[in-house]
Amino acid sequence: MSDLFTIPLEIVRQEAVAPAACTAEEYAARAHYYRLLAGAFIEEPGRDYLAALRTPESLEALAELGVTFDNDFIDPTPDELQETLACEYTVLFASSGGFPPVESVRLKGGFQQDPCFAAREFYAKEGFSVGAGRFQVFDDQLGVELQFIAALMDRIVIAMQRGDNQEQRRLEKSVKRFWAQHLGRWVRGYAALVERAASHSFYRETAMLLDAFAAFELELLGLDVTDEDQGRMELPPLAGADEPMRCGA
């Protein structure tokens, strides 16, 4: 049975509800947030990305949203910060014992399970395929899924500029469906998990932003999707998680 059949009926009913009307400017702004968040999770943050994020304007804008980084993000040199975050990224997301930002892992307990292929199929229907960045990524990696929505929103903006209402509605429906079938099912719980587990304020704060943004988007899309990821509810305290694993008393 495909995932489509596991979506609660309430969501399907809500498909009929018209999304909140957005202007082209708003769609562009939303796409911007998707990309901002994708940049944090798709791979280790790059130098340019971090530099842009650390400008006073950017920090101020984020602070207005409630995103406040600690000195561990503000003080280090660009090289130091990039190195620190590369290590933190690896421990959190790309090595054993961490929690990869991958839908298959979060929902199915293993890499490259049904959500990966379903996401790939979704992208293909919209004319996209996933390439590699610095590293290979799975199709259902968080950053990829966020970038996909951003790309759809870019197209919505273009459709709006062309006055192509039919294409706009189709794309809006695609955004909604992708949230219902993919992001909505795991991203909020996962964000809460990262927020709790991260030792660096960059990941703590961006995870918090992701969580809030996901809730915002779902509301805007008029979707009521159950968060299947259990990270939100069941994460116990992190005492001792970063101690070396050793045997013996």
Binding site: M1, R106, A197, L235
Partner: protein, 877 residues
């Protein structure tokens, strides 16, 4: 006119049963089909089936992977495989979870904290190559290539790792065999050539099974289990098992005889004594095909009386006498051994004593008997790098000249002693920190020491107790994503096979031969260092094509393309899935070939040959066969083409060249409250890499210590009680399982459990901080109902080695067992490096240069001492 009455009807029925059974049957139960197809139960679409070879453990069963929408959804046996005949064990069925393991390493990782601290940075392959190449370059520039060491646990690369090390010029190549079966191999090889036997279980009438749990775990579990069952059903075979523990094989047997640990050899010698005393031997075979006479053998075996063996082993005299007669008078008969006899300090002697039984009764190479293994080889791409010029001490230590399969488990002590310096250490599918004696207290100690191991590269798709101590981890790929050649002597019908990728590597995982090629190219980009030419293949598939393109028979069948389609190439005919037998093109069964040693040499072989007074046929400085009664036979693959009951090479080093038994020195004067600790494997686990496989973990996830009823009562211990097992090097705290199924002086703990560095499911970190997968849609991971991960026993097992075969004495550890003490808690594993060092030193006293060697061998009083022999390089692999 024919008239049936009830009486004549029944009478005729009884009289014609055999004919009715023999009549061909066309109707078959569908569940008896060997498979080969699979359908999605929802969509009813047939899944894509790709043949490959299993590699969860080392039996190498033929497998089919069913792929649906790019995902491996099911594995089952390959019905074309002549050895495994369409069947996979539980481990094989669960193999796809390796690929999808959320703890899998998918990118090169570089350590950024202290070793073992768990802090890593993801790096690109190019960055990883640069780091490793710089280290290798440093060693090579200084002219000491042996400072580069590679140790593998499971190497099925078909020669790639050896090619890599030889390209670098290093002879420091270590394996895992000394913790596996090396003394079995060394007990057999000098005697008859091969390192393993092929019992014809399906056609035998009698099996003496010494210490093998073949229905669960031993070499070759799956194919042999099938033949053991056939033997029981079709040949009414009797099986007698000597084992310290009531394994499932012992339970299947007609008789289970609990034997005192390590005394199987004594029992075997006493059985031989009775056979020879009562003239039940096959004199013709002994006189013609061994290097001793019947009289020599009788004289030698006089000392091994049943009374002597009974005293050592606890097996009653009358049982020994009866079984000896049964074995010698039931034809055909065979023995089978595995770790029970071999994994002791003098395991090679034990193995040899056991294999003497089919030899002296002439059951060699007969239908239903004890046969030579049938294997097949494949080629190596050319050109090949030359073997390194300078030998490595670690690979062939002077103190163990006969241990042709190495003594790898003692390496940490030798590196610490400075016997050989190591600057770059590679591990490949090898987790000695878990699997070796001493475990973390020995190997963990070594890897944490950056002075002894300055740079450690772990080649592995998974984090483990070893990988977490590495400096760089290269993400190798699990077996469903790789190309490898296969051949195993796992039945009487030889075969060649391949492992082929059924899905593309996940993430940035790469195959061994691919990343080693890229590393060599990094070291020698323009070929000027003479390395690149050995790594000229275009792809992993191209490498395999070169290995298979010139195999006679296979070449005509299509070479690699045939193997890609079928997975396996049986040299004789093919498997008939209806009968499970090998058939020719017309459907007729092809019988196995027996009597390999009696194959006659051709006229061409004999051209220019010379026959000496003993019948040995010499040609070009080698013995190529044996002449008997005017016929020229190929004989056995030994130096003189005979079975060497007397192994002269052993005598050179002061070991007894004839079958003998040596009791474990530290078993001699055990106190009443002391016991012997043994370990064992379960049917759903291998050593170190199955505890995180969800289906297998659910079946078995904990390992309580088996303790005899009588013993437990004396100690006041009940099932479930917390107990402390204390050896000379440390202690563990675990739970007791009180059972009648174990020798009263033995405590047994299974391996595979009690991990502390591998997989969150193995460690039950699912239930700890940051260890969860959400896995909301996975019914298995949502239902991890157990909270016991087991306790690993290897920490408290000292490293001792058979001075002949080099095997670890897994089943020799003397322990005290008591109720847990105040402060003890379940899972405590406490061991001490310094105590392990003391035990290692004690073990070295028994080597041929040690002070205990002569004391253990008073019968070799005429030996001129260690100075009389020069260390020679030995064979083995």
């Amino acid at each position: 006119m024919l008239k049936l009455t009830r009486r004549t009807f029944l009478k005729a029925s009884a009289g014609t049963t055999a004919a009715a059974v023999a009549a061909p049957s066309m109707l078959r139960a569908m569940e008896a089909d060997l498979g080969g197809r699979d359908i999605d139960p929802v969509s009813l679409i047939e899944r894509k089936s790709i043949p490959t070879n299993c590699h969860v453990c080392n039996i190498q069963d033929g497998a089919l992977a069913f792929v649906e929408n790019g995902r491996v959804v099911k594995l089952e046996g390959n019905p074309e495989h002549v050895s495994t005949r369409g069947r996979l064990c539980a481990k094989g069925n669960a193999g796809m979870w390796y690929s999808y393991d959320p703890d899998r390493i998918l990118y090169p990782l570089k350590r950024v904290g202290k070793r073992g601290e768990g802090k890593w940075k993801r790096i690109s392959w190019d960055e990883a190559y640069n780091e490793i190449a710089a280290r290798l370059d440093d060693v090579l520039t200084n002219g000491h290539p042996n400072e580069i060491m590679l140790k593998w646990g499971r190497n099925r690369t078909g020669g790639v790792l050896e090619r890599f090390m030889h390209t670098l010029g290093s002879a420091t190549i270590l394996n895992h065999t000394s913790v596996c079966e090396s003394s079995k191999k060394i007990g057999m090889e000098p005697t008859w050539g091969p390192d393993i036997e092929m019992p014809d279980f399906a056609n035998t009438k009698y099996v003496l099974n010494f210490g093998s749990n073949v229905l669960e775990a031993a070499y070759f579990h799956n194919p042999f289990s099938q033949r053991v069952t056939e033997g029981r059903v079709d040949s009414n075979m009797k099986i007698v098992t000597f084992d310290v523990r009531l394994s499932n094989t012992a339970g299947f047997s007609d008789e289970w005889i609990p034997v005192y640990p390590g005394t199987d050899g004594a029992v075997a010698l006493a059985l031989g004594h009775v056979i020879l005393r009562e003239n039940l031997q096959d004199s013709d075979f002994i006189e013609n095909w061994t290097n001793v006479s019947v009289q020599e053998l009788k004289d030698h075996y006089k000392q091994f009386t049943p009374e002597w063996a009974a005293k050592l082993s606890g097996v009653p005299v009358e049982t020994i006498e009866r079984i000896a007669r049964e074995f010698a008078t039931t034809k055909p008969a065979t023995t089978y051994t595995y770790r029970g006899p071999a994994k002791h300090m003098y395991g090679s002697y034990n193995e040899k004593a056991c294999m003497m039984l089919p030899i002296m009764t002439g059951n060699i190479e007969k239908r239903g008997g004890y046969c030579l293994p049938r294997g097949m080889g494949y080629d190596q791409p050319q050109p090949q790098p030359p073997k390194p010029a300078t030998p490595s001490y670690l690979a062939h230590p002077d103190e163990y000249p006969l241990a042709g399969h190495k003594v790898s488990h003692l390496v940490p002590f030798w590196i610490t002693e400075g016997k050989q310096k190591i600057k770059v250490y590679f591990s490949y599918q090898d987790n000695p920190v878990y699997t070796n004696p001493g475990a973390d207290a020995v190997w963990g100690e070594l890897f944490r020491n950056e002075e002894l191991i300055p740079f450690y590269v772990c080649l592995s798709p998974f984090m483990g107790e070893e990988a977490q101590l590495a400096d760089i981890i290269l993400p190798d790929v699990p077996y469903l994503e790789r190309w490898e050649p296969e051949s195993m002597p796992s039945s009487l019908w030889p075969w060649l096979a391949i492992r082929q990728p059924v899905i593309k590597p996940l993430g940035e995982g790469k195959e061994t031969r691919v990343y080693l090629q890229e590393l060599i190219h990094k070291l020698d980009p323009d070929g000027s260092r003479g390395m690149k030419k050995f790594w000229g293949f275009k792809s992993a598939e191209d490498y395999l094509r070169k290995q298979f393109e010139n195999i006679p028979g296979l070449k005509e069948a299509g070479g690699l393309d045939f193997l890609k389609k079928h997975g396996v190439w049986p040299i004789y005919g093919k498997l008939n899935p209806r009968t499970g037998k090998i058939s020719d093109k017309s459907g007729r069964e092809i019988a196995a070939e027996y009597g390999l040693y009696r194959k006659e040499l051709s006229a061409a072989d004999m051209a220019g040959a010379m026959v000496d007074g003993k019948g040995a046929i010499h040609k070009n400085g080698k013995v190529i066969g044996v002449q008997r009664k005017g016929r020229n036979y190929v004989g056995f693959p030994t130096h003189d083409r005979l079975i060497n009951v007397r192994v002269d090479q052993w005598a050179e080093y002061g070991f007894n060249p004839m079958p003998t038994f040596k009791r474990m020195p530290w078993h001699e004067n055990m106190k009443d409250d002391e016991m012997i600790l043994t370990t064992f494997k379960l049917n759903v686990h291998k050593q170190s890499r199955t505890a995180a496989v969800k289906w297998l973990a659910e079946i078995s996830h904990a390992n309580p210590a088996w303790l005899g009823t009588e013993t437990a009562a004396k100690l006041g211990i009940k099932t479930g009680d917390l107990i402390r097992i204390e050896s000379g090097v440390g202690h563990i705290v675990t739970k007791a399982l009180v059972t009648e199924g174990i020798h009263p002086k033995v405590i047994a703990v299974s391996t595979a459990h009690g991990h502390w560095g591998y997989g969150r499911l193995a460690q039950l970190k699912l239930k700890e901080a940051a260890g969860q997968y959400g896995a909301a849609d996975d019914p298995d991971l949502k239902n991890v109902w157990w909270d016991d991960k087991g306790v690993h026993p290897n920490h408290i097992i000292p490293a001792v080695a058979d001075p002949i075969g080099g095997s670890q004495g897994w089943y020799d550890t003397v322990v005290k067992v008591s109720k847990a003490q105040p402060g003890d808690k379940y899972g405590d594993m406490v061991a001490d490096w310094n105590k392990h060092v003391q035990w290692y030193k004690e073990g070295m006293r028994y080597t041929y240069v040690g002070d205990m060697h002569r004391k253990m061998h008073p019968e070799m009083a005429s030996w001129a001492g260690p100075d009389s022999v020069k260390h020679k390089a030995t064979g083995g692999h």
